[in-house]
Symmetry: C2
Subunit: 334 residues, 2 copies
């Protein structure tokens, strides 16, 4: 039996293209003592992977060319030589984009297939949900009646941010890239309003109308022009949570924009970048709370699932076209 | 006897010019019940006044045209109908740019003419010193062996920032606009090194050499290109204290610069703007500590004093040409 893998074969210039990736067939890996063989069931397709495709050192090392891509994966243990895992266990962790992965159990967590579907461990109960939870609550610190704006609002992180902000009694304004998305945010998730930045003629004035009391917390998934427009509306002591800058990930050189530090200064605002892994010690707290909210129907989620390992590169490309409503997943096996 | 006053008669476009200001002679003010008549001795000439010359609402209201300018002033009480003040008291507060001011005692503080000269209450023991103290210690939170970079390092705030950072065991790098200033910072104030941004060909690479371990705290008085160069060198969890953006104050339209949020994000850095008045309740703590350091010779200061109320507009203009080494004052009377 062969093991299929997706390799990065060239580094994207600008938007990723299908020819940056290639499907290879290789031999089935065998676990050694202390290792686990995992059958991959679902891959998480994540905008942050774009950064690792550049050949620069960041908070994680870049992907190597002609090696298997890695990302968050849900799988089932097929064979275990590790005392913590047994065949049949469902697990989540950083594994390869392949049919079967071997790993030493580090960073591999067992997950409970009940009560929420296992795929939520790549979304609302996984890295995106944890990112929303800690970024919003720990850095944004939303207070009742404050206005929270979230960009990339219909993505896996943004949806959870907006819903938690509603639970905290805030006015919530989402920014997303299609009417289907904005309607979903308003009608299904209870956002107070949402703006389609692609069809709105004047995003700044529309935002201003949507935020009659200004902006207290801005959860930024996108960067660029949208972020400029939001920052111009911030209130005193506003908190800006830098979570992602997807608008800038595919630019070949550094973009320019208006200098907004004078606004940050006179508003005594705070901007903080964060990386979810810094919160690892507190993951369980968030998972417990998010599971409770999901169980109570207070946090809804949406998944966009495509089938087949071979579809993964195209799904990744789609992230930057704004094709996904909620978490983008690839299903590899049942 | 007449009272001379400096009025703002037109709003500067770009750099302030002498014809934006005019000296008027008016009648001597008389204090009413509950008021104090103060003879002004020294005016503080402060870059932040530039912001108040624009006709826009900020954290303080803008100056009105054809009215007396206001700023931090040291004076001596000439006549008092207020129970807290007696003739002969030295005071500091927000008063007019004029020979004599009447005020109701709000925001007027008595100062001790010993042990430090009264002028220090416009510098190291005044708003600039307090700004340095709280901005650096409360927001920047420098730790021993960290690298602290301060721009506008030879100004009234920057000098104190660098010296406090040295007291906290940091490597301190100053950025200033002349060799006279950088030599003063290194030879007199004990900065580890200082960079003359006007004559250094490649500020970015020179900064990189000056900060071999990266930048942990950046105290920003200037904004613009210099700030871009520093931000590119920040370490993980760096703190950027936004205190001033003097490079941008005289621009007629908003400047553009590289988008650096991706750097802030991947470095999990924090940027915080602040206004010294938010710390009013804690001023005494800072004044006590700074006075002690001055008394022990651990914090030195430099003042640039010009004579005569009529010299004030030109001294203000000089701030933006980088003429002052330390606090810029105007002496009005003995």
């Amino acid at each position: 039996m062969l093991n299929r893998q997706i390799h990065l074969v060239s580094r994207p210039q600008g938007l990723p293209e299908e020819n940056n990736f290639k499907l290879f067939e290789t031999h089935m890996p065998k676990p050694e003592e202390g290792q686990v063989l995992v059958q991959c069931l679902y891959l998480s397709v994540d905008p942050a992977m774009r950064g690792m495709m550049r050949d620069i050192k960041s908070y994680v090392p870049p992907y190597q060319l002609n090696e298997v891509l890695t990302g968050e994966v849900i799988g089932r243990v097929s064979e275990s030589k590790h005392s913590n895992f047994a065949p049949g266990d469902f697990v989540v962790g950083r594994l390869g984009w392949e049919d079967y992965s071997v790993c030493n159990g580090e960073n591999l967590r067992k997950i409970d297939p009940n009560p929420a579907p296992i795929t939520t461990h790549l979304g609302t109960l996984g890295v995106p949900g944890l990112t929303a939870y800690f970024g919003l609550l720990d850095i944004g610190k939303p207070q009742p009646d404050e206005t929270v704006v979230v960009s990339g609002a219909a993505g896996a992180v943004g949806m959870v941010v907006g819903q938690i902000a509603k639970l905290k009694g805030c006015r919530v304004v989402g920014i997303a890239g299609s009417d289907k998305k904005t309607q979903y945010l308003i009608n299904e998730l209870g956002f107070d309003t949402a703006i389609n930045y692609k069809t709105t003629e004047n995003v700044k004035s529309t935002l201003k109308e949507a935020c009659p009391n200004g902006v207290d917390v801005y959860f930024d998934n996108v960067g660029g022009d949208i972020t400029d427009s939001v920052i111009k509306l911030i209130n005193q002591e506003a908190r800006i949570v830098l979570c992602g800058q997807i608008a800038l990930y595919n630019l070949e050189k550094r973009d320019v924009g208006p200098r907004l530090f004078p606004v940050i200064l006179t508003k005594r605002a705070m901007i903080k970048g964060f990386i979810i892994h810094d919160y690892e010690a507190r993951y369980q707290e968030a998972i417990t709370q998010l599971s409770e909210w999901i169980g109570q129907g207070k946090i809804l989620y949406n998944e966009n699932i495509v089938n087949g390992l071979e579809s993964a590169p195209n799904a990744f490309k789609g992230l930057f076209k704004g094709e996904n409503l909620g978490k983008q997943l690839v299903k590899i096996a049942d």
